[in-house]
């Protein structure tokens, strides 16, 4: 009967942590700092979360676009339709790889850093001393980080897609000799701004929300020891990746599923 009790306890803990994280989310969204005092904090976090993630995003986007160009050319040239390579690269990047790979890299690079930072603040009792001083840590620490992640993700995803398309063009047009006009022409006639580009942006907005929420909550909720911080950081990356991939399926089914 012990396993039944364990299962029950785990289920209860899961529901409890869901409840805590929802309250926490409410606190950090409603507790958004007012514009004048909160703006510098937000800028600082946007710098750490967004600007410093640019390097990994640009390099990964470039290589993923180049690989797509090579793979697409190899497959499509069998059918003599290698001019469809532009369409393939653009649709793959804008609809799927841009938002998803950006979110996975973001969870690894920015999410884990957020969790570790907030967890260490908690372990060194900086958060409780803020409360002592009458400063709400949700407002001062969590809200700027949450909003910065939420704003940075779509920007990063769009930049990822553009760099990837450029990388694909580099391989397809410059090296493999696909006609440039049909590369762009096929792309432009098949990619629609509303149903492809904007849906990709919506995806990345959702991923940004979820990844940042998971990251800041894991940090805020961690056991304040070194082992606790390390397990919270691991959880951030694992949960964010699973959530992104699962949500991606749901969003794709809703956006492109035709039912």
């Amino acid at each position: 009967m012990q396993w039944l009790a364990d299962l029950g306890r785990q289920g209860r803990q899961l529901v409890e942590s869901l409840g805590r994280s929802s309250q926490f989310l409410y606190g950090s969204i409603v507790g958004a700092p007012d514009f004048r005092s909160g703006f510098p904090l937000l800028m600082k976090q946007l710098y750490f979360i967004g600007v410093l993630s640019l390097a990994i995003i640009v390099v990964s986007g470039l290589f993923i676009g180049m690989v797509l160009g090579l793979q697409g050319y190899t497959i499509l040239s069998d059918y003599g339709s290698e001019s469809a390579i532009g369409q393939m690269i653009a649709l793959t990047l804008v609809r799927e790889l841009g938002p998803v790979v950006t979110a996975l890299l973001f969870a690894g690079r920015a999410g884990s850093a957020l969790t570790a930072e907030i967890g260490l603040m908690k372990a060194t009792e900086q958060l409780s001393s803020m409360e002592m001083m009458g400063v709400d840590p949700l407002r001062r620490v969590i809200a700027p980080r949450f909003w910065a992640g939420f704003l940075a993700m779509p920007v990063l995803a769009v930049i990822f897609s553009v760099v990837g398309i450029w990388g694909g063009m580099l391989v397809g047009v410059e090296w493999l000799g696909v006609f440039e006009g049909s590369f762009w022409g096929n792309m432009q006639s098949s990619v629609s701004f509303t149903s492809d580009v904007l849906n990709g942006v919506i995806k990345s907005v959702v991923f940004g929300f979820v990844c940042t929420w998971i990251a800041v909550f894991q940090g805020y909720d961690c056991v304040p020891t070194s082992a606790g911080i390390s397990s919270a950081t691991t959880k951030t990356v694992v949960f964010s990746s699973l959530a992104v991939l699962g949500l991606d399926f749901v969003l794709t089914a809703v956006m492109f599923g035709d039912f």
Partner: protein, 151 residues
Amino acid sequence: MAQRKADLVVGLFMVAGLAALLFLALQVSGLAPRSSEASYTLYANFNDAGGLAPRARVSMAGVTIGSIRDITLDRETFQARVAVDIDVSVDNIPADSAAVIRTSGLLGEQYIDVSVGGDMESLSEGDTFYSTQSAMNLERMISNFASGQGQ
């Protein structure tokens, strides 16, 4: 001072994001109408435009000389009326040239091939191709063949 630097860099980051979105809108999904300078317009009427799409290429002897602007239905003749933009540097297409819809490769996109005629006069802005050849329709060919109507 450090704050102002952070503001500036974050501002640049946001501008880069907007520029990327603009690139996706204009260059990747082709929202803006293409500038029609340096080209002139010809028309061609087809019985069946098949899978021809706007922005597909128009070629002559395998060289791209223009692109398709739009495809409309002619309400009088129930034919597809295709407007094509031809590069101004190719201003001597003989007036009896034919516009033929072809497919690149087995599964590739369809495009218009201009097969050259021998007339001394040449087509100019707003003219219509004298003769055209519609898209090859594999299904119709097979059904013609099966019912013995093929030549």
